[in-house]
Amino acid sequence: MINTEYTLAKNSKGIKTWEFLKQEFKPKGKLLTPFNIISLPIMLLGLVLIIIRFWKGIGSITNLTQEVPWGLWIGFDVVTGVAFAGGAYVVTFMVYIMNLKKYESIVRVTVLNGFLAYVFYAGALLLDLGRPWNVINPIIGNSFGTSSVLFLVAWHFLLYMIAQLIEFSPAIAEWLGKKRAHKILSRMTIAAVIFGITLSTLHQSGLGALYLMAKDKIHPLWYSEFIPIMFFVSSIFAGLSMVIFEGSISFKVFSDQISEKAHQKHKGIIVGLTKICAVTMFAYFFLQVLVFVHSQNWHLLSTPMGFWFLIELLGFVFLPMLLFIYSYKNNSPLMAKIAAIVTMVGIIINRLNITVIGFRWDAVSHYYPSWMEIVVTLAVIFTELWIFRWIINRMPVLRESPLWAKENK
């Protein structure tokens, strides 16, 4: 096996691909960084917990109850994680559909982020399945529950991961030096983008639609028939805030990969994104107010949940919207970062309010995630970051593509 591969695969410089891969799989950089020291034990602990979970059942490490069957793993990992991964479809929309080439330099890293987010956070769904060996049922088609929103969402996750992989694949081809594959894969980008945006629209809103049937279980301030539209609109600024936040960190951590020119450009990009964030947040805020007025829930505002609702809406939507506007007007990337962080906290609060905090808010026994659920969630996030770092250090994601790739287009 290895031998045939060995002789068949040669890359452009004549180095054998196998040798090349072997080298690439070795860790690069220091091992004892603060990040590694914190993340490694958590990942190991998470692994142990996952083994216990499959051995003794979901209840052995989670606090889930019969009333609240979906907790942190669905509410945070899947529902919130996917909202944050929305940046990929928004940025590809801007670059490939609206032809705003200014943002081209952040496409790859955003798509990579989105792809990994889907693999890991949607993958966290598998941990939450009680009978995961039957997960193939809705895929191979012996039991299509086509009336199920979850069926739609699951399929869209799967297809969207493929679309994102195609969008990202030219970077892999550049890494391996495969010129022909690069050419073919690059040509597929546009189709994958269009397909991907369509899928994203549907499953971002679909995640909200999951909760439509739980009408009597979600606190009335958060339930409305417009949840799907809210989820979709908020995924735009959630995703872009993630792009701003992640970008500012990547630019520090991987600064060796980024040219001076790109650094300058990135400021302009961030400020450009703030404008889109502000506009979509305004629309979202407006929609929320409309829905609220329409639902005639004024009397609920003076309850503790009502205060919580106001804090979410004013403190974590309206305020960061103003901050985004400020950052745009004053050309301030720093303010953009602050606004992005506040927005992201707001998105976490919003998604958890619907999925966990406001779900069966009236139940006798409340659900709180166990420390083990939190550790597993952190382990998932850290594993994703490790893979992300591994790829960034090897493939042309932040750094410029090789010359031949540019000519290859």
Binding site: W55, K56, P132, P138, G145, F232, A283
Partner: protein, 287 residues
Amino acid sequence: MNVNRRSFFQMLGITGLTFALGKKTKANPNNSSRIDFKGILYDSTRCVGCQSCEFACAEANNLPEPTDSPEAGKFRKLSEFNRCIVNCYNTSKGEVYVKKQCMHCNEPACDAACLTQAMNKTKEGPVIWRGNKCMGCRYCMVSCPFDIPKFEYHSANPKIQKCDMCFSRISEGGIPACAENCPAEAIVFGTRRELLKEARKRIVETPDLYYDHIYGEHEAGGTGLLYLSPVPFQELGFKTTLQNSSYPELSKGFLYSVPSIFVLWPAILIGLREATKNNHLKNHEND
């Protein structure tokens, strides 16, 4: 950049439009009302709280025997270890017993939620769970308005537990174990139509005995379990604020909008891409 804002509102408009369209194309109201589903009429004025049904149910479904008994003021919960439970309530007419189990909805939320069709409304009427299909996602539990399906959190091969109206016994021409073993004739098995007629008859003939409402006739789009009670149903812990249309109706608007987005979206995206081709040049000047 202006284009961006405009396109955003276009997007919004279109999503909104398809939602609205989806709403209009509602499914024909209740095909199910024409099908003669099997159901159960439970009359809490007759129930004596003897737990015969609980014991019979446990035996029929290989579940542990109940260890406690109904007491006024104590709330016994449905759990993964039982499929029906009898509780006693202090009401305006004294102590009343009431049995709780899956309602076998005409259009069940659990069935619509299930992405593997493991939860299934059979044509006979019982809503059953099929372990060879279920992947344990628990979306049925999230969706069921009566909070019925229970999950075995402490098993490596967890099952969903809920009443299946003794589907296997019914298929062989039998009747549910609870109905067979009730000494007070509080549980009657039959077709839903007959049972509704019978329930109305009882209310009309002895209006003093009954509160004038058949729970399950309209709740959640109609259910296979029909309840009679001497007191208003909220006194017996029933959810009385449930909608009368079926729960799957709530996500139909969304599901119906999916095909139209799949057709419209790519077309619009391609159109936008063509329309903004010149942006490319403009952007370069700005740089």
